[in-house]
């Protein structure tokens, strides 16, 4: 692969995850390179979201190893909070803090974690809000915003920590159709700027257009991966063919 001389950003080896006795991830090996945009697609229940949530240890893994920027996050001595500061995450349900204004949502983590002074964080928040097109909403509460606006704030909140990896967990699945575009546009911009991104998504158009590589997951494993042109144009695995036939 051409990406071989690029820096490895996330290296996953032999990842297994059980929920009680139910094996959700059945031995996953994957490498995400610096600056790469990787979309993870597949039927529901395939373990996509669980895989993503293991990458910042929101989900404890049962066995296997995940190395991020040379930090083995499965090593108990590694401070996961420090590693997470460099990994932004965006959720399906936005998960904004409803008791804080939009601006406070964005400023909270950098200030609390002493990455920035209050003034710096405020400046950053203003800058990020203009970037996601919501400058006029700084003083609004999340409950006053549409789903699309909330998700854009959530992206801004994640970016406030200056992460170099962004994880997206079905960021548009909870949105009304007319709001999907505005969120994908922000993500596209981010991708163009060279952010390392792992995106679990059902938006095949986005996966095809924006990603450098697509992983197809089914039954707790990666069944097939490849460039979007290759994977969408000429899927090899039977499960991939079957899935794409249904969704495209």
């Amino acid at each position: 692969m051409a990406s071989d001389n690029r820096k490895e950003k996330i290296v996953v080896t032999g990842l297994h995850k059980y929920f009680d006795k139910n094996e959700v991830l059945k031995g996953i090996d994957a490498v995400i390179y610096e600056g790469e945009v990787v979309c993870v697609i597949g039927p529901s229940g395939s373990g996509k979201s669980t895989f993503l949530r293991c990458l910042n240890k929101l989900e404890e893994l049962t066995s296997g190893k995940i190395v991020i920027d040379d930090y083995d996050i499965t090593d108990k001595k590694v401070d996961i909070n420090k590693v997470r500061e460099n990994i932004g995450m965006v959720f399906q349900q936005f998960n904004l803090f409803p008791n804080m204004t939009v601006k406070k949502n964005i400023m909270m983590a950098p200030v609390e974690l002493k990455k920035m002074t209050k003034a710096e964080a405020e400046k950053k928040a203003v800058q990020l809000l203009s970037r996601v097109g919501l400058s006029d909403k700084a003083e609004a509460y999340p409950g006053e915003l549409s789903g699309g606006q909330q998700q854009r704030v959530a992206i801004a909140r994640a970016l406030a920590m200056n992460p170099d990896i962004m994880l997206f967990d079905e960021p548009t699945s909870a949105l009304d159709p007319e709001m999907v575009g505005e969120v994908l546009d922000v993500m596209k911009e981010l991708a163009e700027e060279g952010m390392t991104m792992v995106v679990v998504t059902h938006e095949m158009g986005f996966a095809r257009e924006v990603s450098d590589r697509v992983l197809f997951m089914a039954d707790g494993g990666i069944m097939e991966e490849g460039s979007p042109e290759r994977l969408f144009g000429n899927p090899q695995n039977e499960r991939t063919q079957d899935f794409l036939k249904k969704v495209l």
């Binding site: 909070n81 509460y141 999340p142 409950g143």
Partner: protein, 228 residues
């Protein structure tokens, strides 16, 4: 009727008792809120010993009448301590505040726990994913929201604590009911005296309810468009 007589004769006495009622209530609520927070966090901790201690505490307090607890603390516990410290005694107010705080603490712990569990898991996940530690997530994200969910139950518990001060008359704490008993003991004007005492409670608790409505309104931040 003898209302004017009671007001003329006994109002200063009753107000003095009421003052103690209010002070003891405030102190017990404040201490109880702190106890409750710690017990709640203990009960939710991963450490089985902490969880067990909290569980036993809540079990005992909820499972026994406060009247009996007050008697044990005021009369029983000093007897034990006297074995080590000669002539040790609690005064009634101290014993009263201890009883009420321990009582409120147990119930408040459960109220907090309910509030914490009502905060969606996504809130914790969002905070943790930003790099906040467990305890910071609790303090900065979960507890403020949990408090909001808890306000109605908290106010309810405050009301119970205020009313329960009257039980402490059995250990001779000179709160308002105790003062009233002193007065009717020599004058026998039961209806008027106790009615006035009842009105005093009603006034204080009404005040608290007005305050809580105000706080609830202040804390209302969402529910405009989100609709979820």
């Amino acid at each position: 009727m003898g209302f004017s007589r009671v007001i003329n004769d006994a109002l200063p006495l009753l107000l003095e008792g009421l003052k103690l009622t209010v002070l003891v209530s405030l102190a017990s609520i404040a201490i109880g809120m702190v106890i409750g927070l710690f017990v709640c966090l203990m009960k939710m901790s991963k450490n089985i010993v902490l969880r067990a201690i909290a569980g036993v505490y809540i079990w005992i307090i909820r499972g026994t009448p406060m009247l009996v607890q007050a008697l044990i603390i005021f009369l029983g516990v000093p007897q034990l301590i006297q074995m080590a410290v000669k002539d040790f005694r609690f005064d009634a107010v101290t014993a009263g505040i201890i009883t009420l705080s321990l009582n409120a603490g147990a119930y408040l712990a459960e109220i907090y726990r309910g509030g914490i569990m009502a905060v969606p898991k996504g809130q914790t996940e969002a905070a943790r994913s930003l790099g906040l530690s467990k305890s910071k997530t609790m303090r900065k994200v979960v507890l403020p929201q949990a408090l909001k969910f808890s306000v109605p139950s908290l106010v309810n518990q405050f009301i119970i604590t205020i009313k329960d001060t009257s039980i402490l008359t059995v250990i001779g704490m000179a709160e308002v009911v105790n003062k009233a008993q002193q007065y009717v003991g020599s004058t026998f004007v039961y209806f008027e005296t106790y009615s006035i005492v009842a009105l005093m409670y009603l006034a204080i608790i009404s005040l608290l309810m007005v305050l809580s409505n105000y706080i609830e309104k202040k804390l209302k931040y969402e529910e405009k468009k989100s609709g979820k």
